[in-house]
Symmetry: D2
Subunit: 340 residues, 4 copies
């Protein structure tokens, strides 16, 4: 339920109203523009009119979507997340690059240098790896997180790494700027709840068979538990096609743009699983309106300990960033010339 | 099997060799550069060495893919189809626009005028409609084909229309430049064989659950029966997602580019089923490297007799064409600056 | 729309009413119990009350489903199709067996003998084969149909064979009892319309990505064009799983039972593509309530010219028929003991 | 890798060999019949012949499948798990029944009574609920586990309940016999590792888009971390069909039977999501050869706090158990009569 308040209400008055709502056993969530969402509990019957009797409430409306805080209905303006002086979702391309797994100091520093040189804002690297086989490399753990932090600091890059269980959240949050939820954990609700309690932005990857609504319901878990900084990531879905590892679904960019205010990045590396597809699908994602890209790079892609087939070289990444910039400029000019 | 011939062989000598192969019960298919493919019959056992004994044959190699004539292996250079002075696959954007169904003379002429004004090369319009319900509008039939031909002539546009059964092929080929095979008929092998016998280019739409290989095997039917002018069309696949009508699969552009020499166009109208998705997905298709687009337009989209929800206005189409041009220029400049 | 008529109306009176409806440009379809369905044309606006003014009409109701004649709403009792003294859908198991392709007189006669000996009612065999590759065996054509007819007569079996295009329908209908529409042609609307004009029962196979509604809309084409004898066939769908050729969907038996009155048979051979799965999935289909089975058998399964991997031996078929009988008896006894 | 040892080796000698292998940095897993599997670490290069030089080793062979301990290759005999005097996988039907969520003492005791009366061996009930919305009922937690334990004891039923995160495993293992991994957590590798450390049997539900291999790789995580008692559960996959909640995939029973020695149960409640489908799909699962069933029952299905649409009454469950027994007897008799 949304309560639209008297626009003349002071900040203190809004806070007072929220306190009152809490005493009535609701969970009020404030939004800019004197708007408050009430997230209802299970089985709670509420008479809409009752809220109109509260001082300062002008209008009461229902949220149609099952996802509430994540919806455009509740939050019409796009969310822009600030992190280390960079904006995610604010018009500039938010590119994240780095290796699938952190393998050594040299490797992650080389990647950081290349990422920064090409204009990426963030450095990714896996320390806890969700491998389908128990016999495969499971990541460097905390040691890897330290290397990632150091490489990020050396090149002034935001850092991104995955967490796989609630108990890792606190540890990782101490080293890394953005915490990533992997595709296989998108509906690990215990993990999502824990991520609702930290302040780090969360990069939430779409499950490989999750609908847009499933993804937004997963985001809702994080939002409802207190963390408003969720970045959505399209990373390919499972279809009947076997030529590609996954089917990167760029329709998701359009659909999520309509349904939610949260920023959207695209992962063409996992999304296709094929090195030669990373460039064209990156450019397509930018043309479709994605806010960012997350791309696997490696000093020597063929020697990557994981995901070698989809990892690209530093040169290939530089070329993508250059071309993506040209496309964004072309689209920007087109929009401006139409307005004039 | 591919026979690479002595490059000094004259045209007449190659023809003579082909005649000889026919007498040996093979179906030779000539390609530029003194190369001949032998399409084998069922159960035919061939000793590769036997061909080396034929005069003029330099090298004999197998084709790995199940699709032969459609493969890059057989035909490394991209196919460029010429039609009414325009090139399909030759670097320029081949845009097809028009209504889902031809409804009246006024409607199709209005669409033709708008299509031509925005730089489209071709006009589409359905006369025989494959509707999922027997109780829905089944198209104007031959009368529609005549209107389409007239509108195409008036605005110097190539015309495109769908055929649904072998018996319609001859009739439609008399009125229309490019014959379209709909998604539901992609594996209507009787129809494909018939289309192998005409000279018109064929626009072959991917079945909504066809793999890339399935699509290329369907193209192979047309090629093997004598018509080399096949244009492939990605138009969305069926997945678990229900928000969109189909999931437009732009990975297909990358995959088909690697696997085949045939031109590739993208249909964002059927591919998404949502009007607001047509622009961003058109631009994404162009950025991914598609040779063309096929888009449903209508003078009054909401009054369209079929597919209203995915049909766009003339203004929206003009904007897409303008923006697509900017993206293509940006990519072209990027490629050139890298070469220099 | 359904018109429920005065139960006292004579047959002649109902016919008179139907004639009158035809003059009003409707297509009335009679059903037992003085019920008439009106299948509406496109864009036809009808005032429901107008029909109540017709003499003899007691009640006018809408059909909710998009499929009308195929729906349980219109025809609550299960349809039982009679063919050569056997009943399809009437409680007995309707088993169809035979080779994928008719290869020779000996082969089809051997299959017929084995099918009859095990209690099958029908003999299948392909004469026109829809192969994904143009270079594979395309079937024996009319010669095959003659062999099938002869084998059927010799062992008093109903015959079943596939047609692929409208022009084959008349020919095949002269030789074969039940005409089959293959999975890839389920939405070949030209073919479906043609099959609406013959009297032979039609075995309509579900497209490998068709929803239950899609299948019933395809059946509706045949029904609406005049042929009420449609048998539905579940034959596996395309999913992400690659271990099996298709995913046989037995939920279809339950769903179609609720949605339609038409009989339902299951094809575990194509549905799984794996020989060892044919027995357990046949028994599962029977336990789920299927009206029949269609199974590929061959005198020497490994030498089958097509579909060898899913074809079973005569002995394996006999075992399935024996076990299926035991399951049906067990279920019948259970139902009877519960009634008593 | 599998080492087949001299059959005359004593237990102590085998243990000694295992100790030696551990010092060589391998993880040996013993199996009956003097067979030992060596689960290799990442990047470990092993010369097969080296093992033949170890005293007592007769034969060294590779395991082809990516899943090792879960494979039929490694463990040809079916695994039979014993729990509270009952056998899972040993020929008798292992039926689990109970409510989706534990709601009250009365509810769970009523269910236990009905389950026991119909011949079920186990009682299910959710205490920690993985709900797609953060605003829905999340389960009674530990209080629910106590009620489940008490109800199980009162009616001598094995108890089954879901755990969602590593930290819950110890707690739940103290109250419940079998720990369940839900579909959404099938690839929660942190959870799987933790479950490898307990002694309780684990009911591992297939992810709704997991291939058979994905499922077996998830089982491998539990096996490789020390717990050999894994029960696999087919519970429906996500397909393009929207009529059912999921598409229950009975082919899984056949496929898993070939690939693995682990017992297989089927969940027709979640697998279809439709109350009227539970009976026919339960019977189909039994006919296909499933070792067990897991079915949602409730004293008043329509009032169930979760999954009401797929929950059945006690009477409906009793009928299924009766009919399933008849089918199993029929199949048993058939097998015996064929042997004689």
């Amino acid at each position: 339920m949304i309560l639209d308040l008297d626009p003349n209400l002071s900040d203190a008055q809004v806070e007072e109203l929220c306190e009152r709502l809490k005493r009535m056993k609701f969970t009020p969530v404030r939004q800019s523009g004197n708007r408050v969402a009430l997230v209802q509990g299970v089985g709670k019957q509420v008479r809409k009119e009752a809220f109109l009797e509260l001082s300062g409430v002008r209008k009461v409306s229902n949220l149609e979507q099952k996802f509430k805080l994540a919806s455009r209905e509740f939050h019409p303006q796009p969310t822009v997340i600030e992190c280390k002086g960079k904006k995610i979702g604010g018009g500039q391309l938010f590119a994240i690059a780095g290796p699938c797994s952190i393998e050594s100091k040299e490797q992650i520093f080389d990647c950081a240098k290349a990422a920064a040189a090409s204009g990426a804002f963030a450095l990714r690297g896996g320390a806890f790896k969700p491998r389908t086989s128990p016999y495969e490399f499971q990541g460097m753990g905390e040691e890897g997180l330290k290397l990632l932090r150091d490489a990020g600091e050396a090149y002034q890059l935001i850092t991104v790494s995955e967490v796989m269980e609630p108990a890792q959240v606190g540890l990782a949050a101490g080293y890394v700027d953005i915490l990533q939820v992997g595709s296989r954990n998108m509906q690990n609700f215990s993990l999502l709840k824990e991520l609702g309690k930290v302040k780090n932005p969360i990069l939430l990857k779409r499950g490989f068979s999750a609908t847009y609504q499933d993804l937004l319901m997963a985001a809702e878990y994080i939002l409802a538990h207190g963390n408003p900084n969720v970045i959505l990531c399209e990373r390919g879905i499972r279809t009947f096609e076997t030529y590609t590892r996954n089917t990167l679904d760029l329709n998701a960019v359009c659909a999520l743009r309509e349904l939610t205010h949260l920023p959207i990045v695209v992962d063409p590396s996992h999304g296709t699983g094929i090195r030669s597809f990373v460039e064209p699908m990156s450019l397509a994602a930018v043309a479709a309106g994605a806010d960012g890209l997350i791309i696997e790079i490696h000093p020597n892609p063929d020697r990557s300990l994981s995901d070698a087939q989809q990892t690209i070289s530093f040169e290939a990444f530089a070329k993508i960033m250059h071309m993506a910039g040209l496309i964004r400029n072309a689209l920007k000019n087109a929009c401006e010339s139409m307005i004039n």
